[in-house]
Amino acid sequence: MRSTRTAAAVMTLLFAASALSACGSDSASSASGDGTKVYALLPQGTDQPYGTEYLKAMNAEAEKEGLDLTITNSQYDADKQASDCQVAVAAKPDLIILWPAVADTVRPCLERAKAAGIPVTVTNSDVKEEDKSLTAGYSGPDTYGQGAASAEIMCELADGKDINILQVEGLTGNTTAINRKAGFEETIDENCPNVKIIASQPGDWNKDDSQTVTSEMLTAAGAKNIQGIYAADDTMVAGAIDALKSQGLDVKKMLITSIGNTKLGNPLVVNGELDGTVFQSSAWDGQNAVTLAAKVLDGEEVDEDLFMPSVKVTEANASDAEVTPNW
């Protein structure tokens, strides 16, 4: 009995010691960057491919600017991000970079930071219009605009003909998914009502989920009634294209658009299977989040949003250097 207790105590202490030493070395390394302290509150990171490349660019740029970054990942849990925000404010950094998990929920965080005199810059997806006065600037893609741009490509391709298309959405409830869907659908309604979205299902940003739901939507609608597909990102469009192929359909005849121009999507544009996509550079996004933060820290007044250029990528420009995919 006593020996088990002792054993438990010893193991606990050993663990505590190892934790101490590990933490010790970590904080020693971060303390060496004696410069400016910045918290980055993100809703994704190495759990998503986009976040992975975003982080690399962000860390590289922070190193260059001499910023001491502390990064959190709330995994799109708005409550966790709100709590991360409290922790960040308590740590009194010189600036907070915020990528809202859910745009509707960040007002309290912005107010709290303002009360503590900490400037907040926003990255990747913007806060709501009425909250913009609480932020020091925005850099990132115009997610609504991306959906709209993809719709414009689709409208051009349809060229006034009446066609039916399928939509593969992003993860249910996700802010980017909601904005892209709204941008796409509203632009289609406005510019080319001849294009009809006859079925829509979430593909959860996954290739395999997208492949299955696309195939099922094709079955439901009858493959011969479908002339096009829009997917909210390149990973999902790759799945949709595989679904078309496995049903023996001619992919090149279909009108297919998406958003991303990733390492998975770009080759599909080059070989003509994907008709058009909208470039979203994770590296640009991560890098400019820090660039903007550094500007604000230097006391520069940032008046305008720093939008990632929504470059449309089609077969004509897919091999150009400026649209080289980075994830």
Partner: protein, 347 residues
């Protein structure tokens, strides 16, 4: 503090105070949680004293992790489970945002909690399905309803000024969330240790047939327990919704597992009858402090995850009971090898 473990079988009088103390401690279920909390606090004190100087922040993380766990504990003590708590949190928030009036919204949220609790209890008590399954079904149903009602988009609250006010301190540095969390803890603790109905929860979880034979209204206690758990989850949903100024149909992805972790780390046995609200509180404190401390160190998020997992794993494996079990398992295994050569062995 009284020991809330069902019926006392009249033990022999303790010879010395030390003996008595040892006996009392031996019956407590919070040992593991206390040890873990001690380690976490010591490490935090050395590495990140900010965990303490900014204690309202740490407390509000603890309250975020812990409130649902408190309600869940009540159900687990009765030997049942509620896997639908996270979905209840989400649905209650969505219901709350259906009206512009905050008071009415809170009522709607709590009403949702009552309804969910009654449905859960109906399946468990009346139909006789295992609660693990009934509430697993409800996990999907309630999440689906939240998505359907909200059209899978966040719903901003109308009265945003009040919502922001709600996130600010009211008593000293404490926000309403922390105050409600503390109140819920005190009330549940008193209920489970001081009130007859509450103490009977332990009997229901410990030995249900014996509880029936002793004339305890087991079914009614089960209904009470499920409703308490769901109402607390719904309350947490309302608090979350107010604090973030919008209902979010995708919220709560981490609620279910972290509240389970808090309760189990706190020594609450999933088989029922053993554990305490205090244990869950300490479990939530350990987890909340650990998370805040790790965030402050600025360690890469993946490595933080590895730490949290490692701490949890060590905490359950270094429990004295676990170590005893490991020793006896090892002994059986060694004997087993000998026995197997003669006996029919395992394939």
């Amino acid at each position: 503090m009284s020991t809330p473990h069902g019926i006392n079988f009249g033990e022999a009088p303790a010879r010395t105070r030390v003996d008595q103390l040892r006996r009392t401690l031996g019956r407590r279920t919070e040992g593991r949680a206390v040890a873990l909390l001690a380690v976490v606090l010591v490490v935090a004190l050395v590495m990140e004293p900010l965990v303490f100087s900014a204690y309202p922040v740490t407390l509000s993380r603890v309250a975020l992790v812990g409130l649902v766990a408190l309600g869940l504990t009540v159900v687990i003590l009765m030997g049942e489970l509620d896997l639908s708590v996270a979905s209840t949190v989400v649905l209650a928030g969505v219901m709350m945002a259906q009206t512009d009036n905050v008071a009415l919204g809170v009522l709607l949220a709590l009403g949702t909690g009552v309804a969910v609790g009654l449905v859960n209890a109906f399946f468990v008590v009346k139909v006789g399905i295992n609660s693990f399954i009934a509430t697993l079904g409800m996990l999907f149903v309630l999440k689906g309803l939240a998505i359907v009602i909200s059209r899978s988009e966040p719903i901003p609250l109308e009265n945003i000024t009040f919502a922001i006010q709600f996130g600010l301190p009211i008593v000293g540095p404490l926000t309403p969330r922390i105050v409600i969390f503390v109140l819920a803890f005190v009330l549940l603790h008193l209920f489970l240790t001081r009130m007859r109905a509450g103490r009977e929860f332990y009997a229901v979880g410990g030995n249900r047939q014996a509880a029936r034979d002793a004339g305890i209204p087991v079914d009614r206690r089960l209904v009470t327990g499920f409703v308490m758990c769901s109402v607390i989850a719904a309350g947490a949903g309302a608090i979350d919704t107010l604090e973030r100024t919008a209902a979010d149909p995708t919220a709560g992805s981490t609620v279910l597992l972290s509240s389970f972790a808090a309760a189990i780390i706190g020594g609450v046995a999933l088989t029922g009858g053993r554990g305490s609200i205090l244990g869950t509180l300490i479990g939530a404190f350990s987890l909340g402090t650990l998370e805040v401390g790790l965030t402050l160190t600025g360690v890469q998020v993946d490595i933080q995850q590895i730490y949290i997992g490692g701490v949890l794993l060590l905490a359950v494996m270094t429990d004295p009971a676990s170590l005893r079990a490991a020793r006896s398992s090892l002994r059986t295994s060694l004997h087993g090898v000998r026995a197997r050569s003669t006996d029919r062995g395992l394939t």
